[in-house]
């Protein structure tokens, strides 16, 4: 009885440590869907960059982008700018979801989005517009 008890206790402790180790490991990012999203966002970034630089587009605090000053975009390009922003936001939402799913924790999607939102803003280049906690646009 005592032996069985000790073995069971050892098994329980092992489970506990395995869980801890897993929680501290890096996030899994190497999946085909994440690669595809990254590639599409990388290609789109070249087109979005002029709009970020002239302040037409800014980074939202929800981890996306918004057309904040349509007047900064010449009228003929405005529809294109809008669809670029929409496509980027769709890709970003998918990215947050895919990362959560790739790590077996779909419920992390919101926290992953928040983390990305902070990092996108933190990493924004000087001159870009970012949204602050009061939803106001501020120039970095």
């Amino acid at each position: 009885m005592n032996r069985i008890f000790r073995q069971l206790l050892a098994a329980l402790l092992l489970t506990l440590f395995a869980g801890l180790a897993q929680a501290q490991a890096n996030l899994q990012l190497n999946t085909p869907s994440i690669e595809t999203l990254k590639k599409s966002m990388r290609e789109r970034h070249a087109q979005l960059k002029p709009f970020l630089e002239n302040g037409a587009v800014g980074l939202t605090r929800e981890g996306g982008m918004a057309l904040r000053d349509a007047n900064a975009v010449p009228l003929p390009q405005r529809a294109a700018a809008n669809s670029l922003v929409a496509a980027e936001n769709a890709d970003r939402s998918s990215l947050y979801k895919e990362i959560a799913v790739a790590n077996g924790k779909p419920e992390w999607e919101g926290e992953i989005r928040n983390t990305f939102a902070q990092r996108w803003i933190e990493r924004a280049q000087p001159g870009w517009y970012v949204q602050n906690a009061q939803n106001q646009w501020v120039k970095k």
Binding site: M1, F5, G19, A25, L29, I34, H45
Partner: protein
């Protein structure tokens, strides 16, 4: 009789350990690895932002031929 009492104590301890472990597991499951997520975000953001200068990135130099006399 004494052995039975001991067994009962062990069983109680086992139940307690199980309950503790189970609650610890719940805590782990809701724990969000914020540092790992930040690292992951930075890696992906690097990838996306660097693409604009990516073309200029030099390829890794090919290893020099080892043959030498």
């Amino acid at each position: 009789m004494k052995e039975m009492l001991l067994n009962k104590l062990n069983l109680n301890a086992l139940l307690l350990a199980t309950a503790l472990t189970a609650s610890a597991c719940v805590t782990i499951n809701i724990y969000f690895p914020a540092a790992a997520a930040e690292k992951a975000a930075d890696r992906i953001i690097d990838d996306i932002y660097d693409a604009k200068e990516g073309a200029a990135k030099p390829a890794a130099p090919a290893p020099a031929p080892a043959e030498k006399k």
